[in-house]
Symmetry: C2
Subunit: 319 residues, 2 copies
């Protein structure tokens, strides 16, 4: 477990047990796919964000458990559908549901997991929770659809909109709604929502940088995956907007639908030379700074420190 | 419009306008797929059931509109995903989203439409609505997954479980929650929920019979589609349980994964000879009788008559 989650470690264990219970079905195949999804792991970031955010306001965060379970289920459901759409056979070094059971079972498993999330949320009295969460789901779908056909309109504005939908929205909802489910007032859940938004933006920018520069062993997959799939992220967008022959060559490679492995490597090198990686790091840093500013509006409690440490960890992660 | 929906025709128009508004997005592709889904038509049965059920209790059913919109969106979302899973290129004689935009866009469009349904529902104060609806979504996914691998365990129990999940659940939810959203007490929404369940069962049994015996022009597709896809429905299950050479031959055809068109025709003929079609009609009739019995628990108002006429129409439809 990541050290800054210690404060909510008992709650995270409870959430893990609940996740196991929730996904049980009378149907053998659903049980197999669900067990596979649970064992595939994941850092349970969204539950942790919700729990820590609630901890800013209250010590007893057990009312947040169902929400935390729902957040992880929504995240899982999107991964299952993304694997169908991307025809991905492995994730985190393990075979996907799609690889083992095929597209049909995966499509319905994603729907099933999402529907289970809804049941978790339907127990809350405060309508804000299901309202924010359903809007978040809409945003996430929009983000995925934009990603599919936004390849040829690679500019900063589209990129920011896409990563907000794809990643930042759900982290924003996790932080905000964690506080709401814990009973926190506006003065607490508003800043936490904004913290989540900025943190989520930084998180995705960092992910996009790591996709180009990471140690392949630690990343668990080859670098350049986005380029290979035709997805243009901020380092490349920045590099493409520079003048000169290097940018022209980069543009040529990016627009070529059937890139060779050498060309993917060359594109990454050009992006780095043109300052794209540094620009991305600068951008992630600026978002994290904004996230940390939001924390200053909150009471000075240990959970707030943990949230700050997460922000600092993300910054380190991009190097 | 079907004649028994006249009582709620103004409300159905309002729902249709809302459906159009709800699906609008900033994204051009989402707008295109959504417009396509709306124009593809459909009888808007689920909204009509919800509105008529509310009418049993109250004259002003405008509070039911968002629910009615959500029910149709959920139905649409499942159709979009089913078309991906079944690799279907046409539905109701028109090209599917999948045929026009591909599997990727379809998968996310289904998710998007479902998420839009959640937003509609999140406005209701009564938690029963989102609770019943999310359970219904879980059931529907289970039903689809069971259908995929239940081919070789063709028996009555599995069949009934499958059609309950696949069809009856959402019609039950439509009737029950329509009444709930209209403010009706338990004494009204309980019988309406059971009415919806029985009606939904009869509806699916009838659909399964029509898949074998309908006029192809009126059905808008070839008969025998289920057999071709390896889906075994009640007429065939009944026929397979009979003794003798005809049932043995039928079993041989059903178990053959690559049936010829002649064999599909032969299987339908054998099913009819062995009494499977008649048995199915008898079953649909029994469910409709139960549905009509439930209506007797309700106040004697015009909406109740309309619901009874729907039940009678379904019976006629199976001939």
């Amino acid at each position: 477990m990541l050290p800054f989650f210690e404060e909510v470690s008992a709650d995270l264990e409870a959430v893990e047990i609940e996740l196991g219970k929730v996904l049980i079905s009378e149907d053998a195949i659903i049980n197999q796919t669900a067990t596979h999804l649970l064992r595939a792991g994941g850092k349970r970031l969204r539950p942790a964000f919700a729990l820590l955010s609630a901890k800013v306001y209250t010590d007893d965060v057990s009312p947040v458990w169902p929400l935390a379970v729902a957040l992880e289920l929504i995240h899982m459901a999107t991964l299952v559908h993304d694997d169908v759409v991307d025809q991905a056979d492995a994730r985190r070094g393990k075979p996907t549901v799609r690889a083992l059971w095929g597209n049909k079972v995966s499509t319905h498993t994603g729907d099933y997991v999402l529907a289970k999330a809804l049941i978790q949320v339907s127990g809350y009295e405060d309508p804000l929770i299901s309202r924010v969460l359903s809007r978040t789901c809409v945003r996430m779908c929009e983000g995925e659809i934009i990603q599919m056909h936004g390849i040829y309109e690679a500019n900063l504005r589209n990129y920011l909109h896409r990563i907000r939908c794809k990643t930042a929205c759900l982290i924003e909802a996790s932080c905000k709604l964690g506080a709401v489910a814990g009973g926190a007032p506006d003065s607490i859940h508003y800043p936490l929502g904004r913290f989540g938004h900025y943190l989520g933006m930084a998180f995705q920018v960092t992910d996009d940088i790591l996709d180009m520069v990471a140690d392949e062993l630690r990343l668990g997959k080859r670098v350049g995956g986005d380029l290979r799939q035709g997805i243009v992220t901020i380092p490349v967008i920045y590099a493409l907007h520079q003048d000169g022959a290097a940018a022209a060559r980069l543009s040529q490679i990016v627009e070529n639908r059937s890139k060779t492995e050498d060309e993917v490597g060359e594109a990454i090198e050009l992006t780095r030379e043109l300052g794209g990686i540094n620009y991305g790091r600068h951008m992630a840093g600026a978002y994290l700074e904004k996230a940390i500013q939001e924390l200053k509006r909150l009471p000075d409690v240990p959970a707030r420190d943990s949230l700050r440490q997460i922000a600092e960890f993300i910054q380190v992660r991009s190097y």
